[in-house]
């Protein structure tokens, strides 16, 4: 199949690239739309799951990589569970998210990549996620100070936010793990 892939992209068609990266067999999709019927975000996002597969099959790189859908997907696994051909849509979407970041095509309408970076940065430094620190860092980076600020007093009163992170040994080992992953994957993050 020839595709309408953008000229600056490598020679592999999008479907091949995503199949290799995710292990999902996207050519098997016959558009039954069972994925979309059960998808919790299909009604409110820009591209429905069955349309996303079709666009990948057609090589519509720009539309797919800059979609809101790939970031609004909740990874609930319902589509994969119900697919009659066992197409692993969540794995496909994870691969699209990584490709979207690598290609600089992330929609400005999502804060998920920023959140992910802060989250993984915390794991790298502390070993665990310290929720209060995570929320503060996210709000600083996105300027969303007032969203949920009203919930802080109740959460603190009810002991839902530990003030200090727990100390976890093995910082050097964690740093090595992240460094090696970066090395293997080309330090894309």
């Amino acid at each position: 199949m020839t595709t309408a892939a953008a000229p600056h992209v490598g020679s592999a068609p999008l479907i091949q690239e995503i199949e290799t990266a995710s292990g999902a067999l996207l050519a098997l999709c016959f558009q039954c739309q069972k994925c979309t019927s059960g998808c919790p975000i299909a009604a409110t996002t820009d591209i429905k799951p069955h349309e996303l597969i079709r666009l990948v099959q057609l090589g519509e790189r720009r539309e797919v990589l800059s979609s809101r859908m790939i970031w609004e997907c909740t990874s609930c696994q319902t589509c994969r569970t119900r697919c009659p051909h066992d197409v692993d849509l969540p794995a496909m979407i994870d691969a699209l998210r990584r490709l979207s970041r690598d290609a600089g095509k992330v929609t400005p309408d999502t804060a998920v990549p920023v959140f992910n970076d802060i989250f993984l940065g915390a794991v790298r430094r502390l070993g665990r996620v310290h929720e209060l620190g995570l929320m503060a860092a996210f709000k600083l980076r996105t300027g969303s100070f007032f969203q949920d600020a009203g919930k802080l007093p109740a959460m603190l009163r009810k002991g839902k936010l530990a003030l200090r992170p727990t100390l976890v040994r093995g910082r050097a080992r964690r740093a090595r793990t992240f460094r090696r992953v970066d090395g293997i994957e080309g330090g894309k993050r």
Binding site: P40, T78, T81, A111, E131, M135, K151, I184
Partner: protein, 302 residues
């Protein structure tokens, strides 16, 4: 079976009540759950969205440290990531090799992973729970909410039916309470969009709460920290946004079990819930046993 406990990050903060009630119930049931020393975060959604290798390496590091024991997991999301890591390492030799390169040690994917719900139902057993119930929750109508990752994808977790799971219903029934029949057991609450896109969580969590209410439930019981947080912490905003009364306490299943075992509300962290469950329990004639410190008193003292 010899267990090692993997609590997950939430149990130290937003799901403090889950940790307290798990520890109290484990003691009461004679389950030994020593915590895995220096465990690290499973990587959660952030890892699998960012790096397929990191998403397997982070859980594998913990699984390797737990070798020889069964890992007992409290959080449904950690449970999923640990199970997926085992599955990928056991089924893809290339992945196993990559992970060995990253960790500096080979891991074969063989450390068994079980969720607390699985352990309580299958290792402790429903008969044993029935025998140990001191304060049966008779008349309490409970919507058992499983969420996504405890049951999906079924070929990886291999635990319960992905469309109509019953394990939680069975444990709840063993406490004397009545699980309601309802169709939203495994719908998604919106998960980590709680921070990145609240509107998604409010819509999805509203649908779950409203369905539980319409099914006649007095409360919801869950086995996932993020589901609990979304349904409980956001409930007031959801009521305001949709102009509806919900008023449904959302408990961890270990908290409900602990109440039936006759444990004090304070020992189960009931005071860390946003929607106070005590008025609902009192209405059903299930006020905690005499001598227990009521949560309302703690509030009044403040």
């Amino acid at each position: 079976m010899s267990y090692v406990f993997f609590p997950g990050c939430s149990l130290d903060s937003t799901a403090r009540g889950y940790r307290l009630s798990t520890e109290a119930v484990a003691r009461a049931l004679g389950l030994d759950l020593p915590e895995l020393p220096d465990w690290t975060c499973c990587g959660s959604t952030a890892a699998h969205q960012s790096s397929s290798l990191l998403a397997v390496a982070l859980p594998a590091q913990n699984l390797l440290a737990a070798s020889g024991k069964t890992m007992a997991v409290a959080c449904a999301a950690c449970y999923s990531r640990l199970k997926v890591a085992n599955h990928e390492i056991a089924n893809a030799p290339a992945t196993r090799e990559w992970v060995a390169g990253v960790l500096g040690a080979d891991y074969d994917g063989s450390t068994p992973v079980q969720h607390l719900l699985e352990i309580i139902r299958d290792e402790v057993g429903l008969d044993e729970i029935g025998k140990r119930v001191r304060a049966p929750l008779t008349g309490l109508r409970v919507a058992c909410y499983y969420g996504c990752l405890l049951v999906r994808p079924p070929d990886v977790v291999r635990f319960d039916d992905p469309e109509n799971p019953m394990s939680l219903d069975q444990v709840v029934a063993a406490t004397g309470a009545e699980p309601v029949e309802w169709p939203y057991k495994t719908e998604c609450c919106g998960a980590s969009h709680s921070i990145t896109k609240v509107a998604i969580v409010e819509r999805l969590s509203h649908d779950i709460l409203a369905m539980a209410r319409d099914a006649g439930a007095d409360c919801i019981v869950t086995a996932c920290p993020l589901c609990q947080l979304n349904l409980d912490l956001r409930q007031k905003d959801i009521e305001a946004h949709f102009g509806e009364r919900l008023g449904l306490p959302v408990l961890f299943f270990t908290q409900l079990l602990g109440l039936a075992l006759g444990l004090k509300p304070s020992a189960l962290g009931l005071d860390s819930l946003i929607v106070d469950p005590l008025p609902m329990l009192a209405k059903r004639g299930l006020a905690p046993r005499p001598g227990a410190r009521p949560v309302v008193a703690a509030k009044a003292r403040k």
